[in-house]
């Protein structure tokens, strides 16, 4: 028996993956109208480069990246731009969006959707393609991928990790992708390796997906070579196994410094879905206009993994899966541990949306005093003392919370999940981070120095 790699801490919530793990990815036909947000990523929103009434083809750029840390947005269907509209985003903000009328032809713009020989692409060319295709981290964070592929001079990447862990309960989108399309994922992974001139790639899969692991291990063996070493690693089933810093530590033993990035320890982590998107952009000339979304939870009758166009209203996904509108109490975008709840079922699917959960039970309100049981301390993958943070923040002592490293919290939510007193610990820490930043800005304004 192979020894499973893991990190210290964490917890094991009920997986809930059985609901959708056997549902093969199904294409959801594009709706008649799509709302394509211009802010789907971390960084500056893209700016619209089409006008109302203009005809667009699939893959045509409709939103232009504003600066380096931003991402292009492309038309997911062919049709007509009706107008620019405001739309809700899962983060609770309002984004400008392009309202598209689908003509049903699905006609690609010139030169797109045609195979090209990705094997000939240089590192620079891959980065350019990725940037042009508007690819962002598809595990949920939606950070522009070309930025991660462009480490500054002096930062050498010696290991790239393909994150197929999918430790969030309920989600099976990456699992299905790896199982059904290992070749494109591995090809995309190799392109990423080439883009950062790295020769060592590790595919990380959690032990609850042995079939996906076997498939990826086989793919690694078949596609290694040409100076590139590929391997697959099996990890213990534990949340948050897929958290970047914890994953790096489990696989390489390196500890990403507080406030630092994986590149500081010579590592780059990319999600399996992102690798697939990189392959699509480089080998098939297809910009990012669709993604796989797990639609699941007790509030839908037939949970599924759907390949959907960016901009499809979530309502269409839910209805395709037998949405039980009477029972659903909460809609969550992403996984149940870190996903975002939103009131608007007409919210459009964006590039980072890995799942849509319809939950039927809402946790009862209210919490009690901390009884110092230590479960949050045991569970915190960052080795913080969440109980103490929660007590400090509850009484408004943000500065003290800062002293005991509130900002090192990565908001995985293990503390709040395990808390027998039902204290909203991670929620308070999120609040404290905002307050700490505000305090630092005030301090900086007073002393006339730059905020750190």
């Amino acid at each position: 028996m192979r020894r499973l790699r893991t990190f210290r801490g964490g917890t094991h919530p009920p997986e809930g993956k059985d609901l959708s793990r056997d549902a093969a990815v199904r294409e959801l036909s594009a709706p008649a109208e799509l709302v394509v947000p211009l802010a789907q990523h971390i960084g500056r929103p893209a700016s619209a480069c089409v006008k109302a009434g203009e005809r667009v083809l699939r893959g045509q750029r409709i939103g232009k990246a504003e600066g380096f840390i931003s991402a292009n947005v492309h038309a997911p269907v062919s049709g007509k731009v009706k107008r620019l509209v405001p739309c809700n985003t899962p983060l609770g903000l309002v984004s400008e969006a392009v309202l598209l009328e689908n003509d049903g032809a699905d006609a690609w713009a010139g030169g797109l959707n045609e195979p090209s020989d990705a094997a000939l692409l240089s590192a620079e060319a891959i980065r350019a393609r990725v940037q042009e295709a508007g690819i962002v981290g598809m595990g949920g964070a939606a950070f522009p991928t070309h930025v991660k592929l462009s480490p500054p001079d002096g930062k050498v990447i010696d290991t790239v990790i393909l994150n197929g862990v999918e430790c969030e309960p309920f989600l099976t989108a990456d699992y299905r992708l790896m199982l059904e399309s290992p070749r494109t994922v591995i090809e995309g992974f190799k392109l990423i390796l080439r883009a950062v001139r790295c020769a060592r790639g590790v595919v990380a899969v959690e032990a609850n997906k042995p079939d996906a692991f076997a498939v990826m291990e086989e793919a690694c063996r078949r596609h290694a070579g040409e100076g590139v070493g590929l391997s697959a690693a099996l990890l213990e089933v534990k949340y948050p196994q897929g958290a970047e810093k914890q994953l790096i530590h489990a696989l390489t033993g390196r500890e990403t410094p507080s406030g630092g990035l994986p590149m500081d320890v010579g590592v780059l982590v990319q999600n399996a879905g992102t690798a697939h998107a990189v392959y699509e952009a480089c080998a098939r000339n297809r910009p990012l206009t669709e993604r796989i979304v797990t639609v699941t939870g007790p509030g839908v009758r037939t949970p599924q993994n759907l390949r959907v166009r960016i901009g499809t209203p979530v309502r269409a996904l839910l209805e395709a899966c037998g949405f039980d509108a009477a029972a659903a109490r909460k809609l969550v975008f992403g996984g149940p541990m870190m996903g975002v709840a939103h009131f608007d079922p007409d919210l459009p699917v964006n590039k980072g949306m890995s799942g849509v959960l319809a939950l039927t039970a809402a946790s009862p309100p209210g919490w009690r005093n901390c009884i110092r049981c230590g479960r949050c301390v045991e569970g915190c993958p960052q080795r913080l003392v969440p109980s103490e943070l929660s007590i400090l923040i509850e009484s408004g002592r943000f500065r003290d919370a800062d002293e005991i490293h509130a900002n090192d919290c990565m908001e995985c939510g293990v503390c709040a999940y395990v808390c027998p007193a039902r204290r909203p610990i991670v929620q308070w820490i999120k609040l404290a981070k905002v307050e700490i930043a505000r305090e630092r800005r005030r301090e900086a304004a007073r002393t006339g120095k730059e905020a750190p």
């Binding site: 810093k245 939103h342 110092r372």
Partner: protein
């Protein structure tokens, strides 16, 4: 779809076990000890326990009403305090002793500090310390009857008339004996006659000398039957602490349910056994003078199965609220409790040291927590921020 959907920050899942579930788990873990008490001491032990629990719950509710905060007796924590207090007082006490003790434990030791989670000292143990100070004769007489009353009503009616003494006199099968710890306080060295056999023992009038621990060739000896009695609980003592076996079963249950971690009990009992064996014990020499044994001559494991060591290690020193939150801290805490327990037992004024040793260590918890805090992931030792 005209639903309104709840919006709240993540996580959107919650683990099953809440505070009432934990407290019910602790109560259940005490069941073997109380069942043994029912068998060993009779109904009155259970009546005393019931009074203690009732008083704890009512005091909790009353205090919370007075404080104007929600009444949370449904969290079972007052029940646990009531049970633990009853466990550490003798069965032969009049009814007002558990009632006052539990009222003090919950009203003063817990609610005055802000209720569950905010108290510094273990409420049940502070309640016991209060009783020791107030009813020392009944709580710490040293020689307790080991008896079974003939009926509940007989026990209640005699208790209402004042004391257990009357009850003891009425009971048919009274056996009066010193507690194992009292015996440990009065170790004697049998005199040896010219033939090498033991002669009459000089001291310890209530002790059947051959049965209690004695000193032979400079080492403390305990008979196997005494050992077994202490382990099983065939000894006089407090209601819930006589049977090491019953408490061990409950402790293993708590460990299995992950309500307690192994660090505290292992460090506590390990230190007590080690020091109980290592440190010289005081005894009454055959010459009539007080003497000390040599080093490494004590009955180490006997210290673990007697008195409050087991209940202290598994149920008191593991109280979440009043003990360190980090596992490393729990090792320090447990070891400190073991050390103080043995020091008090061997050289202190009381036969038993568990109660005060835990209370003293409770006081040190914030300090232990501070010095055992783990290094934050990605932060260099010393905690400097990047």
């Amino acid at each position: 779809m005209t639903n309104e959907y709840l919006v709240s920050p993540s996580p959107h899942l919650q683990a099953g076990e809440d505070i009432p579930a934990i407290m019910r788990g602790v109560s259940l873990a005490l069941a073997p000890a109380f069942l043994w008490a029912l068998y060993r001491f009779g109904y009155w032990a259970i009546v005393v326990t019931g009074l203690s629990v009732l008083s704890a719950v009512l005091t909790e509710a009353l205090c919370q009403r007075l404080r104007g905060v929600p009444v949370t007796v449904d969290d079972w924590s007052a029940v646990v305090t009531g049970l633990l207090l009853a466990a550490v007082i003798p069965p032969n006490v009049p009814w007002h002793v558990p009632v006052l003790g539990a009222a003090f434990a919950v009203g003063v030791a817990k609610q005055c500090f802000g209720g569950l989670g905010a108290n510094i000292w273990n409420p049940a143990l502070l309640g016991r310390a209060f009783l020791q100070a107030s009813f020392g004769a009944q709580i710490n007489s040293g020689v307790w009857p080991m008896t079974r009353a003939e009926s509940v009503w007989g026990a209640v009616s005699t208790s209402l008339r004042g004391s257990f003494q009357a009850l003891s006199e009425r009971a048919a099968d009274v056996v009066t004996r010193a507690t194992p710890l009292e015996e440990l306080k009065r170790i004697v060295e049998p005199a040896v006659d010219a033939m090498g056999g033991p002669t009459a023992v000089l001291s310890a009038p209530v002790l059947p000398p051959a049965a209690g621990p004695w000193v032979q060739q400079g080492a403390v000896c305990v008979t196997w039957s005494r050992w077994l009695d202490a382990f099983l609980g065939n000894v006089p003592g407090s209601i819930g602490e006589v049977s090491a076996l019953a408490l061990l079963l409950g402790g293993l249950y708590l460990l299995a349910r992950k309500i307690v971690s192994w660090e505290t009990p292992v460090a506590f009992l390990g230190t007590a056994a080690l020091l109980g064996w290592m440190l010289p014990a005081r005894y009454l020499a055959a010459s009539g003078a007080t003497a000390h044994t040599g080093w490494f001559a004590g009955p180490g494991l006997y210290h673990v199965v007697t008195g409050g060591a087991m209940i202290g290690a598994f149920f008191m020193a593991t109280d979440m609220v009043t003990t360190p939150i980090q596992r490393r801290g729990q090792l320090v805490f447990g070891a400190g409790c073991g050390l103080l327990t043995v020091l008090i037992r061997l050289y202190g004024g009381y036969p038993e040291g568990v109660c005060y040793s835990i209370l003293l260590m409770n006081t040190l918890v914030p300090l232990i927590d501070r010095y055992t805090r783990a290094r934050v992931f990605g932060v260099k030792k010393g905690g400097a921020r990047p």
